[in-house]
Amino acid sequence: MMSSGSSVFRVGISFAIMCIFYVPTIDSLPELSPQKYFSTLQPGKASLAYFCQADSPRTSVFLEELNEAVRPLQDYGISVAKVNCVKEETSRYCGKEKDLMKAYLFKGNILLREFPTDTLFDVNAIVAHVLFSEDVEYARLYFFHCKLVLDLTQQCRRTLMEQPLTTLNIHLFIKIMKAPLLTEVADDPQQVSTVHLQLGLPLVFIVSQQATYEADRRTAEWVAWRLLGKAGVLLLLRDSLEVNIPQHANVVFKRAEKGVPVEFLVLRDVDLIISHVENNIHVEEIQEDEDDDVEGPDIVTQDDEVAETVYRDRKRKLPLELTVELTEETFNATVMASDNIVLFYVDWQAVSMAFLQSYIDVAIKLKGTSTMLLTRINCADWPDVCTKQNVTEFPFVKMYKKGKNPVSYTGMLGTEDLLKFIQLNRISYPVNITSIQEAEEYLSGELYKDLISYSSMSVLGLFSPNMTTAKEDFSEAGNYLKGYVITGIYSEEDVSLLSNRYAATLPALLLARHTEGKIESIPLASTHAQDVVQIITDALLETFPEITVENLPSYFRLQKPLLILFSDGSINPQYKNAILTLVKQKYLDSFTPCWLNLKNTPVGRGILRAYFDPLPPLPLLVLVNLHSGGQVFAFPSDQAIIEENLVLWLKKLEVGLENPITILPAQEWKPPLPAYDFLSMMDAATSQHDTEKVPKCMKETDVQENDKEQYEDKSAVRKEPIETLRIKHWNRSNWFKEAEKSFKCDKEL
């Protein structure tokens, strides 16, 4: 690999040799092998290539569109080709998965851009994307260091050119790339010069000693790779050095500017070296960028998804007039006067502003239909109101109803859930049912026809008239669940008619599932409000649900491994039946079986990508052990999803015969962008000052003293004559000093 014997490590270069091949007249899509294709690439000419597995039916539509695009692109001098990835001649552009084949745009042999095929959905999209990408802004120049690679199957290192693609920059870039990666020196760093310095790049000397030479060299190489194109890296051999360098310094930094003394630094790790260099060349970059970087602030380095999204959406005008804005003065009066939903938000907070959109959507949906007044108060303006209402987290929604305690909304911060909460709260819970007929209407969904679309289940508590405590507990539970599920209570003398009809023993719950048209009864062993709430929330769960973004938390809570069937569209009834059979046979008691419709929940694709590489064809059945261990097991995709196979697979799993396809990372989640390390930036700045030996900071107590010094300094610099007492005419020398210090007058006097 690296020729360790020589003191200079040279980076090899290889530019692919090109044959010129130009196809001016072809207007149908040429099909080429990868090797053939690359041999046709022509410097300076753009070419779009679609790499595909031969005869993949999925892509035929795309191929038709691509064919259409050949002529228009040819008008712009861009050639188009289909490259067939064949077994014996693979290219890196031939993806591993059938689904993930891509098209690539080259300029000469330089890759400009790659396109997932779904971005090129029709001929217009293809032409637009390609022409747009042709813009040099999108071009990337990589340097491949392939001389180091002996074996062709190995990967070459590559370096991206970060400067704008101008002839001069490319020239400099290549020159730097050709320069030695790492040079060993034993000379005074102040005197050392390399091609980097001549090209305006700083030099970084890693100070090495005999004893640690090997390790130092490895560090230096590592640094050199990271700083390639940004600085020259040298290994400074302290032992054979004639000049003295500070004992503890391990890095010497030499700026490209002439006459600037070298800096001796103590940097604990490689990252600090890198950041020191990057911080020090940064200043120039900013200046250069000033002109073309008009959109500067828009290139956001946000890693807060919500903040970033809201920021991108900042120009949207919301129909805020659909909600009433409250102030300190109007809050109490408004809340007293009518039924209110109040959104407490702060306008500088992204989550607040994101939710405000949903809130406005609710207002739009309720427009003219609800007696509930939708209001909002900006707690950034009126913090006292919000504090008085005990709102300390934002956004927060509260419902104020006349004569009742305000109710806090604790559901998902989204349109649907809030709308459901508001609609269901039109009546108070539990509903008191007073006749058998009314009870039947209630259970059939007739009684609250307009509400059952918000609550798929109605709960009816059946109690004997004398079960006072149980009734109170149930009322508490119903009140607790208000806004989330419809609850009612029946405790008339003739309650036995109902309990007999539904084979229930009092006290009992009747659960009417409106979508399935089923009514089931559950005896209440314990009538504590908490238990009742638990029973009802459990009953809301389905045996084999379609898992969605919205309902995952309800199932996640069960702490069982998820058995998920990923389906591209509706689930095949056979699979569903197979799983339901297993459920009935108690095979799946320790799991939460569910299925995911990728059409409804596209984020599921991201999950599959995390589990599989390459992605087998759908449907896919996986078992995800989220709560203990994070293993992901896949049901073999070549087997049919039928009961027998499933049972066998589950048995293998149980005895540990199956290997997980992946294990979910157990590390704490970390923000995707690294933190700004201001302390080290400050330290770097300070150490710089130290070497300059200019005391820039003064202690507060010295200010008095320094006032004068600075004053003198400045005056001296400006060469302004200072009118002091003309002491030279005076012979009294012993007060001279005192007077000069204390008696200084400005000219005008």
């Binding site: 890196r92 290139i299 380095t301 807060d304 507060e700």
Partner: protein, 682 residues
């Protein structure tokens, strides 16, 4: 016998006297808290004591509150701004631009209801302080001059001793805690030969007519000197101004006690070649001679000493004898002293050890950063007299600063004597960024008392929640647990406001190019008042604290990260265009926010979730994005980046953003693509 018969006659008046004086002298009235002075600071403290239901009294020499303002400033114009409009409804924020109001729960007691003037009249302040006292029913004992304060050691006392206050009638008051808010009441006088010819600011005429056609020398260079000069600028022949140090302009030093632009009329005429002028000299070297015509000549003490004591005025050497260009060669008609004020130490018995600090001469009593006297426990100094803590740095010597330090002292006392922990709000970690941004956007105490009062965030175990403490004295952070009754075992954030390190100071060019910093990564170079957030893994101890406000020079390993925000014109942060403070967060937590889709993805691809998903989404309180937001989300690179990261589960230790030297050649896998897209596609 005769004697014995007479004895009762003689002794009875004595007995009567004893009986009469007994209730007054021997049984002092006890109070838990005694406040000296019903000025702004004393009243502010009284307000907090009253609200907390404490046993207290304020002792006031005169018959109404705020007596200082009945006479001072002599020219009646306060230079504390009364900005009545800010375009902002937030009452806390508005206090940033209201330098006169005291803190209270009553919005009627805001100074803007008392004056329409941006620089209000001092009479309005007197009226305001009177209303403040009456409306809130503060307990002030008027016409009570405390003439002597001493200590009485007693084991039972809260602090091991009582403070014994004696008033002008001989009435004795016993206090557990003494809060001294007497301000600076003694005019500063410099003793030099001829100082008897000098008129004082406190008594000099304020009628310009009295200065017509006169040559005036003003000693001093503070706002009172310039205020005096401004008043007579138009009618004098010229004004010379003499002081030891050079003039310090408050817009250069960012210290409101330095010369304010409103008073700098004389600088204008000086620099524009009028006859007025500024000179620097140590006043103690000075001598003033009165000649036969009653005019004053300036010379040096040295000459006077050389000439001996019995020389006549005319025979003493004057600097101009040898130097015809000497600035002060012309005789003056008047010399006015405007040299500021000192604390009145005279009433305090030595046993209190209420010493003056060396640094500022006799001006201020020596106190700790907790405003407690270094000499006696239980004695706190409030208001202007407490300015030694932040003299020439922050606003602690002025109403808009000490109203907050009085609150801090009250909170310390509530904990020390009543077991009430420093008020704190406990919130889940997801609210961390919001809490900080909120305070940074609106807090007035942090803003006015920059560099002195700090907000402190105490993390709870596992960083799932935190406590937010407001306006704690920064220099006392090491003793935070003891002083507040809160626990700081799991790391803490300290939030303060600062000006740029090299931005403030006399003669600094505060208008230099690029004074405003735009990029987040340059935020630490911010110049204007900006928040700085420190993270400590544990409470700094001892000496480390002193290094705290100077992070750059600080090699304290327990300081992990420091974050600053760039200044903004509006002083409203939106967390946009830059990374919010989560970037400081050590390892295990973050308050980044996510939409439910991302949380869903995280939930099924990771064993541990970001707190926002853990505490929001998984408790069915996630943020569902609307259709329009979802579009923007798809556009943004973030979800792809997450997805890509997750696709490399086997190597998840790799942080996205780490640039690997070993990359696949021309075959960007999912990760490489996402890394590139970070850079390239934006």
């Amino acid at each position: 016998m005769g004697l014995s018969a007479l004895a009762p006659l003689w002794s009875s008046p004595g007995l009567l006297l004893v009986i009469a004086l007994h209730p007054a002298l021997s049984v002092p009235t006890h109070r838990d808290y005694c406040v000296l002075g019903a000025g702004p600071a004393g009243l502010q403290m009284a307000y907090f004591l009253q609200r907390a239901g404490r046993d207290y009294a304020v002792f006031e020499r005169t018959q109404r509150p705020g007596s200082f303002f009945t006479r001072y400033p002599r020219h009646r114009k306060l230079i504390s701004i009364n900005k009545r409009y800010t375009g902002n409804a937030n009452s806390e924020f508005n206090l940033r631009h209201d330098w006169n109001s005291l803190l209270s729960h009553d919005p009627r007691l805001l100074f803007r209801h008392y004056s329409r003037a941006y620089f209000p009249d001092a009479h309005d302040m007197v009226r305001y302080l009177g209303d403040f006292t009456d409306t809130l029913g503060l307990r002030v004992l008027y016409n009570t001059t405390i003439t002597h304060v001493t200590l009485d050691k007693d084991q039972r006392a809260w602090n091991g001793h009582y403070f014994i206050l004696t008033d002008q009638k001989g009435q004795v008051h016993q206090c557990s805690v003494l809060l001294v808010a007497t301000g600076l009441s003694v005019p500063n006088q410099v003793d030099f030969p001829g100082s008897e010819y000098v008129e004082g600011y406190e008594s000099v005429s304020v009628d310009p007519e009295d200065f017509v056609g006169q040559n005036v020398l003003i000693l001093g260079r503070g706002n009172s000197a310039f205020e005096t000069a401004d008043n007579i600028l138009g009618v004098t022949n010229f004004i010379h101004m003499l002081s030891r140090s050079r003039v310090r302009l408050s817009w250069a030093t960012h210290y409101v006690g330095d010369l304010r632009a409103i008073n700098n009329g004389l600088l204008d005429t000086y620099q524009l070649k009028s006859l007025d002028g500024l000179l620097e000299s140590d006043l103690t070297d000075l001598a003033i001679l009165k000649d036969s015509k009653g005019k004053f000549h300036v010379t040096l003490k040295f000459f006077l000493e050389e000439a001996g004591t019995n020389q006549s005025t005319d025979s003493i050497t004057l600097p101009q004898d040898d130097n015809d260009n000497f600035a002060m060669r012309v005789p003056y008609d008047r010399v006015i002293r405007c040299l500021g004020w000192n604390f009145d130490f005279s009433i305090f018995n030595k046993s209190l050890r209420l010493n003056s600090g060396n640094a500022f001469g006799k001006k201020y009593p020596l106190i700790r950063a907790s405003y407690e006297s270094k000499g006696s426990r239980g004695l706190f100094v409030l208001g202007t007299a407490s300015h030694s803590v932040d003299y020439r740095k922050s606003a602690g010597g002025f109403i808009h600063g000490f109203r907050y330090t009085a609150r801090a002292v009250h909170r310390l006392l509530e904990h020390r004597h009543h077991g009430i922990a420093w008020p704190a709000t406990e919130l889940p970690i997801t609210q961390l960024t919001s809490s900080i941004v909120r305070r940074v956007n609106e807090a007035s105490g942090l803003y006015q008392m920059f560099g002195v009062l700090a907000d402190v965030i105490l993390l709870k175990e596992n960083a799932t929640a935190f406590e937010y403490l407001e306006e704690f004295p920064l220099q006392m952070v090491a003793q935070l647990e003891m002083l507040t009754g809160r626990k700081a075992q799991h790391g803490l954030f300290v939030i303060i406001m600062e000006y740029g390190r090299n931005f403030s100071g006399p003669d600094k060019d505060v208008f230099f190019d690029n004074r405003s910093v735009g990029q987040t990564e340059d935020a630490w170079q911010s110049n204007f008042l900006h928040p700085v957030i420190y993270y400590y893994r544990h409470l700094p101890t001892g000496e480390r604290v002193s290094a705290l406000p100077r992070p750059a020079g600080c090699s304290d390993l327990s300081v992990r990260r420091v974050v600053t925000h760039s200044e903004t014109f509006t002083h409203t942060l939106t967390c946009q265009g830059g990374r919010p403070p989560h970037t400081t967060q050590p390892g295990s937590f973050s308050s980044l926010c996510f939409c439910v889709e991302s949380c869903f993805l995280f939930a099924l691809t990771r064993q541990k979730l970001p707190p926002f998903c853990q505490q929001g989404y998984l408790r069915m309180q996630g943020l569902v994005s609307t259709e329009s937001l979802r579009q923007h989300r798809v556009e943004s690179w973030l979800p792809r980046n997450h997805a890509a990261t997750d696709s490399r589960l086997e190597d998840s230790s790799q942080q996205p953003g780490d640039h690997e030297p070993l990359d696949a050649p021309m075959a960007p896998g999912p990760l490489a693509q996402s890394l590139d897209s970070n850079k390239e596609e934006l």
